[in-house]
Amino acid sequence: MVPTAYYIILSAILFTIGALGVLVRRNAILIFMSVELMLNAANLAFVAFARAYNLVSGHIFVFFVIAVAAAEVAVGLALIVTIFHDKKDVDVDEISSMKG
């Protein structure tokens, strides 16, 4: 059986990749994908601990996260489509009309 630590390390690696992706990428779609990556890293950590401690609450949490993520995808993609429709571009650095 794979030790829990491995899952946690994998989860940390995925989370870091996601966080870096969010910070460095400019394409809105990629940022979005990175956010998904971070979420799923968290999901992985949840199920890993759930299995290790034999608790159901972790699984339930993961279901919640997946459901919320689905909603977030719907809203986020809709936003991106609208921005693209408006600016013909999805580069987040270009979307700065709310700049102070």
Binding site: V22, L23, V92, K99, G100
Partner: protein, 710 residues
Amino acid sequence: MDLFSLVPLVVFFPVIGLLINLIFGQRLGEKGIGIVASLFPALSFVVSVLLAVALAQNPEGRTVPFLEWINAGEVSIPWAFQVDTLSVTMMLVVSGVGTLIHIYATGYMHQDVRHHGDPKSYKRFFIYFNLFIAAMMILVSANNYLMLFVGWEGVGLCSYLLIGFWFDKGKDGIGNAWAGKKAFVVNRIGDFGFLIASFLLFWQFRSFEFSTVFEQAAQAPQSVLLAITLFMLLGVTGKSAQLPLFVWLPDAMAGPTPVSALIHAATMVTAGVYLVARSHPLYIQVEQAQEIVALTGALTALFAATIAIGQFDIKKVLAYSTISQLGFMVAAVGMGAFVAGMFHLVTHAFFKALLFLSAGSVIHGMEHGLEHVEHDQRLRRSLKGHGHDFDVQDMRNMGGLRDRMKTTFWVYLIGAVALAGIPPLAGFWSKDEILAEGLHLNIPVYILLTITALLTAFYAGRQVFMVFFGSPRTEPPAHAVESSPIMTIPLMVLAFLAFFGGLLNLPSLHTFTDWLMHTLMLEEAGAAEAVGEAAAAEAAFNPTVAIISTVLAVGGFALAWYIYRRVTERQKSIPPARRPDDPLRPALGPVFTGMEKKWWVDELYDAIIVRPYKWLSQFLADVIDWRFWHDWFHDTVIAGGYRRISQFLSEPVDMGVIDRFANRLADSIQSLAARGRLIQTGFVSSYALSVFIGVMLIIGYFMVRLTIAR
């Protein structure tokens, strides 16, 4: 049935008449209006007769309450009718003479419609006329001073409306309106006196009612009674045209002649005499007041009689004669000869109404003659100028009317002889009674009145001889025609009354004295005694006085005959250009001019009252109100001060303190915000980084805490 309770009808009948004419007048037509207008005063007369019948059985009379009028706190004034011999006498005169004049006026005003082509004015005239009867009835039937004042003002209003009836005529097209205004303003001065007297009465007696006031009159302080009676006298001089307020009455002749007869000779102007007679318990208490009233009356009588001699307008002569005769009455009631004064009031109402109405008939005849002359090419040339400039009321244009207007001549002669006081006509008996009383009570007044009696006979004769005798001085009187029967029949009735009016109070019978004594004796003991004394004096018919006044009257008439027939005839030889218009003019010189110019009283009033008054109002309006109050006080003080205060509040206070604080606050927040917005870069990744760092810091914090805790 109790006949006394009919008394409200004497007021309501004329009111019904005027309402009918007001609402249906247009549909009734001229005849209908005339019938309605004459019928209702006649009904009032019938009621007055019924009241007199009731009084004959029960002479004490009675107060008939009608309704609660004013009820406020301790003040309670009923609208109640006083039925006693005094008020019913007045009612009989007002409604009786009033009805005759109404009938006459239906004929007289017909001419007005014909000449001026305004049928609406006919309706208006009779509405005012009925309103006058109603107001006069309120005046005489009142049982308190306040109700009397309502009638007093009501008749004043009608007088004003009817003087200005032809408001578009007269000098400069506003002369008649001016005359009406003058009457109103002068009467206002008198009314002021009456009002003050009423206030004093209430202040002293806590009541306006005659009975309450008279009961307590003896206990009241002399000074208060003197003030009351003298202020009341001021009211009397206004309404009854006495010195010094008589000036409105001659101008009031601008109204139609029936108005002059009814209001300005027979009824309204006698209201003052009635007021003094009604208030006799007050006057008896203060001798000075009686003295002053008597002298006012006597002086007015003499003064007005002198002016009457110098007038040429047929109505002006009668107007001054009215003032003079009112002076007789006021002098009589002032002396305490209340019955004599009231007796003269009644006979004067007969003969002066007769004279005025006959004068109206003469004027009509002259107008007819003028119309005839104007339509005749040959006669027209004699007019010298336009027909409108010919004065049909000027006696110098008349003459010889005796043959053209027979009825008018005879009734006029009766009226003039009655006025002159030649026995056995009505004027003789009443005037003689006053003179006999005067000899007994007040010698100076007697002398003044006796001289006046001579002058009265003289101007009465002068008028008759100038108007009716000799040959026509101009063409119109030569073509005059007699008036219609609707006018001459009332004249004949009045002539009958003027002839036989003296029978009311023949020296040995004292019918009228006994009749009035019921009212004048009812008061408390002291007053009754004084009146009783006066009654005793009245009882004594003084043959000396009668002979003197008869001689003077006949002498005055004869003198008039001599001057205006003989001397005028003799002057025929003088060429017309140098012939004097009045034989008295060369004989009396400046005195005659004074009489003709009314002793310059109007000019005097103009100089000492009207012009200073106008100057004062000009001054008040221009300097005080406009320059001081408006320009200086309003503009400089109020507006300027306000502007300065608001300037101070706006500049240093508002802008300097409040605004500066608010602006500083806003500025500092703005600069803070300017710095804060630098954080908002617009780069999503930098936001994400800051979120990331924040999360790191929070997690780091918790980790550190956990580590320490462990």
